[in-house]
């Protein structure tokens, strides 16, 4: 269930069938059969993906210099290719590829983008008068678990594996997939955001999980799963005999959150393959009232509340802050609901996929709403036995019979007096 063998040391060959999650290959693409005729009746259509990757372009795809390509620096390349046909096609920043008089004719191609206005949902598709194969590609896109996507970004951007805690990354992937099987797991879709740092990118991605992202004592980027049950990153029996010099603790109620959304409306999900009798003028224009088309954004937005926590601590909203997000080169200030890249992983996504995600959020809802305690301990170099992210079971530092399980969230290693100060988080859920 963990990351595939060779994840960190191989260059996978793209197959153009999926949004990439191989470590050194980026890009969202899809290869599919074109429409077989143009009479508006017998259309079959394949849509790009479960996450509607083109919508990441925000309806503002710009034209290339020629009609051979979509060469937008703002959104990267996107094209449709027909091996037997005239080649590339491009979009304009209007609704249609070409004028109404020319599109959808024999030998023509159409390239649409979805979700460009409030009244309709349009999925990207291409058409020619004859059968063929089209290929869409958009670079710097990844689909997969939090570990897969963040790992792929680091690899594709050239970070040497010497500076990555690869075992932790693999365990994190295990943790995500424990909630489902195969593709039936919480997945995210990410596309590059010019102007944003890789650090902020990895942070935003990490928030879709419980994993703690950090630069470890050895200066490697690490992401330690709080869900994985493997023995790695777990120690037992920390007590006052383990070189402990001092122990202090405080209730850390500032962590409590009991009201939050998941999802974000920048993109939406069209995870179904429609059978739709195309009208003559707007053959690929699907309205949100059509059967099988999810209502624009709302289906991905779900409110999670922890009523028990609210009764104790009052309503503490998570995500009601403002944040700068990026759409292409444009910045926009939005309400951040913290899970902007959540998606469903494949076009055949069933309810179980949503359930896998929901299971995770339901569990996290319980923890986020619960009280916490921070225990700060100073040790001699015995404190080097565990890093941030480590779970410590049987902790006996507070006179509570060694029953406490904590997670290390902060450390300072002092090379002058050879001490280690650690902050240990206890969650009361």
């Amino acid at each position: 269930m963990s990351l595939p063998s060779g994840w960190w040391d191989t260059s996978a060959s793209p197959d153009y069938e999926d949004i990439k999650k191989e470590p050194t290959v980026s890009g969202a693409s899809s290869s599919f059969s074109l429409f077989t005729d143009d009479d508006g009746v017998d259309y079959t259509r394949h849509f790009i993906s479960g996450c509607g990757f083109v919508s990441a372009a925000g309806g503002r795809i710009k034209a290339g210099e020629t009609n051979n390509m979509t060469g937008s620096k703002e959104f990267g390349m996107m094209w449709v290719y027909d091996p037997s046909g005239p080649g590339y096609y491009y979009t304009t920043d209007s609704l249609h590829l070409n004028s109404a008089a020319t599109y959808y004719g024999d030998g023509e191609s159409l390239l649409y983008w979805p979700f460009d206005d409030a009244a309709s949902i349009i999925n990207i598709a291409a058409s020619r008068g004859s059968a063929g194969t089209a290929r869409f590609f958009m670079p710097d896109c990844w689909l997969g678990t939090v570990a897969e996507v963040s790992g792929a970004i680091m690899m594709e951007k050239g970070l040497d594996v010497d500076y990555v805690d690869t075992a932790a990354w693999s365990a994190a992937d295990d943790g995500h997939k424990d909630y489902g099987s195969g593709s039936d797991t919480l997945s995210i879709f990410y596309r590059r955001e010019p102007g944003r740092t890789y650090g902020d990118t990895l942070k935003a991605i990490a928030r879709h999980s419980w994993d703690i992202l950090f630069i470890n004592m050895k200066c490697q980027i690490s992401m330690i799963s709080r869900e994985s049950t493997t023995a790695t990153h777990i120690i037992t029996g920390l007590d006052l005999d383990d070189g402990v010099i001092s122990v202090q603790w405080r209730m850390a109620s500032e962590h409590i959150g009991n009201w939050f959304y998941v999802g974000y409306g920048r993109w939406s999900s069209c995870d179904r393959e429609w059978v739709y009798a195309a009208p003559s003028t707007y053959p690929l224009h699907l309205k949100e009232t059509d059967a099988g088309v999810p209502t624009k954004y709302e289906e991905l937005w779900e409110l999670y509340e922890n009523a028990a926590s609210q009764a104790l601590h009052g309503v503490r909203k998570v995500g009601n802050n403002r944040a700068v997000m990026y759409s292409g080169r444009e910045e926009e200030e939005v309400t951040a609901f913290y899970l902007p890249y959540l998606t469903q992983p494949d076009p055949d996504a069933s309810a179980s996929v949503a359930e896998a995600s929901r299971d995770e959020f339901m569990e996290r809802r319980g923890i986020e709403g619960a009280a916490r305690r921070e225990i700060t301990t100073v040790q001699n170099f015995r404190g080097l036995d565990y890093d941030v992210g480590y779970k410590i079971t049987g902790t006996d530092l507070t006179g509570e019979d060694g029953t406490i399980t904590v997670t290390c969230i902060k450390k300072t290693v002092d090379f002058k007096d050879f001490t280690v100060t650690s902050v240990l988080l206890q969650e009361f859920n």
Binding site: K157, M217, H255, E368, F381, L384, G389
Partner: protein, 188 residues
């Protein structure tokens, strides 16, 4: 599964003796990828110029949704005695060369071409056991000199932290990017 082995744990519990070594990694030539280590301090040999060995901070991000925490910067600072002038990279032609000069061919590097490494050992029996979980290797960002105190403060950033400062660019994924390579050839 802890990071310390049994011998190290026992040594730390029993009046531990530590040894620290700092090395400046200097490129052999400008832009070269081969670096040679110039040891500036080793407790074992008595070559001691590090006045303040500093500390490292490690902090996790994503601790909770409400207060996510911070990722620490990967920065590491040490203060060294520079009464010999060896930490002046422009020193050349003297009886002793700069610590930023490669001994193989005499290449005199700029400080920001160099890396700082720090290794810590604990004595287990008659041998030294490296505490590999706190090995540091980072790019030197700056060296600040104090002429009166005759000291220098070397500040480095870990390679991983430096990577995280990189930004997505508008030109990422330009024309002919097929996904196979960033600027691959379109084969159809």
């Amino acid at each position: 599964m802890g990071l310390l082995n049994g011998a190290e744990t026992a040594a730390i519990d029993d009046a531990a003796i530590y040894r620290q070594v700092w090395t400046i990694e200097v490129p052999r030539v400008a832009g070269g990828s081969t670096f040679d280590g110039v040891t500036i301090h080793d407790d074992l040999t008595g070559q001691n110029c590090v006045i303040d060995p500093g500390h490292i901070d490690v902090e996790g991000y994503n601790v909770s949704w409400q207060v996510p925490g911070n990722m620490t910067s990967g920065m590491y600072r040490i203060e060294v005695d520079n009464s010999s002038g060896l930490f002046l990279p422009t020193m050349v032609g003297d009886s002793h060369d700069s610590h930023f000069m490669n001994s193989d061919n005499g290449y005199r590097a700029h400080v920001d071409q160099c890396f700082l490494s720090h290794t810590t050992y604990v004595k287990t029996g008659t041998s030294w056991s490296e505490l590999g979980m706190v090995y540091y290797y980072g790019h030197i960002e700056s060296v600040e000199y104090d002429a009166n105190k005759k000291t220098a403060v070397i500040e480095a950033i870990s390679v991983a932290a430096r990577f995280l400062k990189g930004e997505w660019e508008e030109d990422d994924g330009g024309e002919y990017d097929t996904g196979e390579t960033v600027y691959g050839e379109v084969v159809w």
